[in-house]
């Protein structure tokens, strides 16, 4: 499974990469903001996009909106990353078709569940 990990914090990207590797997911691309994620999506095929809600330049919700307008982006599995319980933003993400979200601080079970929500059997396919 190929994951595009988008967060402006290098720490969060490192932590999530570590957790994804524990789930045998090693094909990970990284973006520092929504714009960089969109640029990567134009050139690379990914199975899941992980998007931080709060980012500079283009935040997670704006990026998700753009992804939905891209050819093939309408059904792209998306997991939102959030540090709080801002229900309005989570609600907006769901309206835009986000499939799951994970909350900081992360737990590996939470990440596994989110991946299983967007791609059933994802942790079995991982590393393939």
């Amino acid at each position: 499974m190929k994951v595009l990990l988008t967060d402006d914090s290098a720490t969060i990207r490192m932590i999530l990469k570590g957790l994804l590797k524990q789930l045998q997911i090693t094909e990970i691309s990284e973006a520092q903001d929504g714009q960089e994620a969109l640029n990567i999506l134009k050139t690379k095929t990914v199975d899941v996009v992980m998007l931080d809600i709060h980012m500079p330049t283009l935040d997670g919700l704006q990026c998700l909106e753009q992804i939905r307008k891209m050819p093939g982006g309408e059904k792209m599995p998306v997991i939102m990353i959030t540090s709080d319980t801002d229900s309005k933003q989570i609600e907006r993400a769901h309206e835009l078709g986000a499939h799951a979200y994970i909350k900081k601080p992360f737990r590996i079970d939470g990440l596994r569940e989110a991946l299983a929500t967007v791609i059933p059997d994802s942790t079995n396919k991982s590393g393939a």
């Binding site: 720490t11 932590i15 990469k17 540090s83």
Partner: protein
């Protein structure tokens, strides 16, 4: 947060303290013990690395997470264990900002349905040996130190006080 009062300041501080204990336990596998909070009028707080987060509408204030360099580095190493064994300064500072972000986010969630609710800004990192983060004179400011096996650190919670509740200018 309207009206403000010392009690309301205490409610926010408790949410922040609880969030700090949980966040460091879950992110860094570190047990921390909060010590007695103190008014910043009587105690100073100095640090080498500080993360400053603005508390916004309807609150008006700031939350500062401040550590010495060695404690910051040790906590960053714990958080990134198995991923990055020797994090550079940039990563250590980013890590401290992220801890502050998660603490503020958790406290925000706890208080989201109360009169003390607030929004938060993204963290700003301040570095430099023995610096002090100042606050507006019009703010009420509480400090709380935490002890842990990797070193002590401190949190500063400052909130704007309505004119009617202000005492003498600081």
């Amino acid at each position: 947060m309207d009206p403000h009062s010392p009690d309301e300041h205490g409610i926010v501080l408790k949410a922040v303290i609880d969030a700090t204990v949980i966040t460091l336990r879950e992110m860094a596998r570190l047990e921390v013990t909060p010590l007695m909070p103190a008014d910043k009028k009587y105690v100073k707080m100095f640090g080498d690395v500080s993360a400053v987060i603005g508390l916004l509408s309807p609150a008006d204030g700031s939350l500062v997470f401040s550590l010495d360099e060695a404690t910051a580095r040790t906590i960053a190493r714990r958080i990134l264990a198995g991923v990055e064994e020797s994090p550079g300064d940039d990563i250590v500072h980013d890590c401290i900002g992220e801890i502050a972000n998660v603490i503020a986010g958790q406290a925000k969630g706890t208080l989201s349905a109360t009169p003390q609710r607030f929004a938060i800004s993204t963290p700003t990192i301040v570095c430099g040996h023995g610096h002090e983060i100042r606050h507006r004179n019009s703010m009420s400011c509480l400090l709380v130190r935490f002890s842990s096996e990797v070193g002590d650190f401190a949190l500063q919670l400052c909130l704007e006080v309505p004119r009617s509740l202000k005492e003498e200018p600081q």
